[in-house]
Symmetry: D2
Subunit: 163 residues, 4 copies
């Protein structure tokens, strides 16, 4: 699909942020590629695979212009077990340095608001947002490092489309 056919990434609906002084919006990141990692701290697949990948990508991103890694803690089960207090200790113990948003709980159902807006099927989920704020890729489950790298390298190299 051409860039303009990609759906616009919905705004993040956030209760609070960790690892950043200021709230972050996707709008403020236009012009950059954003990799958004949705996880739960008690999700085994997130801990064993997706979070190590996000950490590695965040290290690599330090030497690449225009690549940003964000986490979002999308709690949809065991809500009392995964509060922001527990998340803060988790981020510390797992040495997660990139900004992490707490997805805002929904008033009437277990799935939080950003998760609902994006239609995540569970955790881990990975969303790649292109320079224009559009969703270039949306996946559920473990992402292969090599395949993810190819997609990101491709997006990073592509010249911004002009309207």
């Amino acid at each position: 699909m051409t860039h303009t056919e990609r759906p616009l990434a919905p705004p993040l609906i956030v209760e609070r942020w960790f690892n950043t002084d200021q709230p972050i919006t996707l709008e403020s990141l236009r012009g950059r590629i954003v990799v958004l990692h949705a996880f739960q701290m008690l999700c085994p697949g997130c801990v064993s695979t997706a979070i190590p990948q996000a950490r590695k990508l965040n290290e690599i991103a330090k030497s690449i212009d225009g690549l940003v890694v964000l986490g979002i803690h999308t709690v949809f089960e065991h809500h009392a077990a995964m509060t922001p207090v527990s998340l803060e200790a988790f981020l510390h113990e797992y040495k997660i340095a990139f900004p992490v948003a707490v997805d805002r709980p929904s008033p009437d159902r277990p799935i939080p608001q950003t998760m609902a807006a994006y239609g995540f099927r569970g955790t881990p989920s990975t969303v790649i947002v292109d320079r224009e704020g559009r969703i270039a890729r949306h996946s559920f489950g473990a992402e292969d490092d090599l395949a993810l790298g190819l997609i990101l390298g491709n997006l990073l190299s592509a010249p911004p489309s002009t309207p």
Copy 2:
């Protein structure tokens, strides 16, 4: 050292148990080999290595007479982050089926009471208690599967010492 030179394992000082209807005492397990895994749910080394080992050992123990696996959640940091509510979700998500004790907090210091009694240096720690309730091995950090198996096989085979 001969068996009688081994120190007696101190009693477990427990706030509450998971995965068992009845509280468990080491005394009630005399005649069996007990592998006691001390962990914290937000300890990366516990999650990646020690807990998978304890789970595997618990599976193997089902077909071995006289081998028992117990966990003990020895929270000595991030206390508000690792409450029994969070632990319960953790045990569910990580499919931990063996009995797990919550180490009783100390009134006056961060280290809980069983941890203090055993002198654990941190998590993960593994204690092997012999058939007479004595500490046959006490280790801190990751245990090699092959080395652990050799020790347990040895203990399981040895005839009970007679006073």
Copy 3:
């Protein structure tokens, strides 16, 4: 560096090929990105890391236009142990499906001719050749999947430079 500053990749000097009916030259692959994996069948790092990576990349390359994976068996030690007869069995057992060249031995020294022309320091070595036949990257030892993917994605997306 700009593309034209990249050194031209020397021709492959080959004794024989496996997994291809026709000898392959880098010249015939102009317009495509070539990933050249130099290995020895008895090199533990090649077997545990580089060859699985090359195999995975070759699978991914099937659905990507303009990406080609080649192997080259650069025997510089234990020559009698790693003959083409042994290599053929190795390729079969390790299910290596991409074309593999046997680097032509040198008449007067242990290092074979392509290895000498490229200046490989050992195995595994990975060379990325760009669409114009120039060396975009040359590395020795294990390559991180994510980092390799980023570089390849970047090269694949970049428009051909025009002289």
Copy 4:
């Protein structure tokens, strides 16, 4: 089964030995537990799993009385690719320090003679020979470290049976 019901381990039928000055017979090892690892140098499962396990066990055996690790190279396919010359380089590159026998080829079929005598189904295969030279365990494929350790610890601890 009781010890005396265990079948006697057939003698090793060996073309040549590596990593030992003298040929080794199972008879000369009576009174010790022998772990016999049957492998082929181009068998991926041997290289990734069984050989690392045998190496680790050989390290552990240095500090345990009465435990011996032996390898046997049972070539039953790709005979021209896995000659003793190639095996010697393999043992060097993979840092295999325990004694390794070359199973003697059969005059009339691909399966070598020790492999036939033991009835190995393929590689890797592991045989545990008890102190009396009887087969305590015979397995095909990857062995779990913890399970193997338990069996060996048990055998090492058991008092020799008296006739």
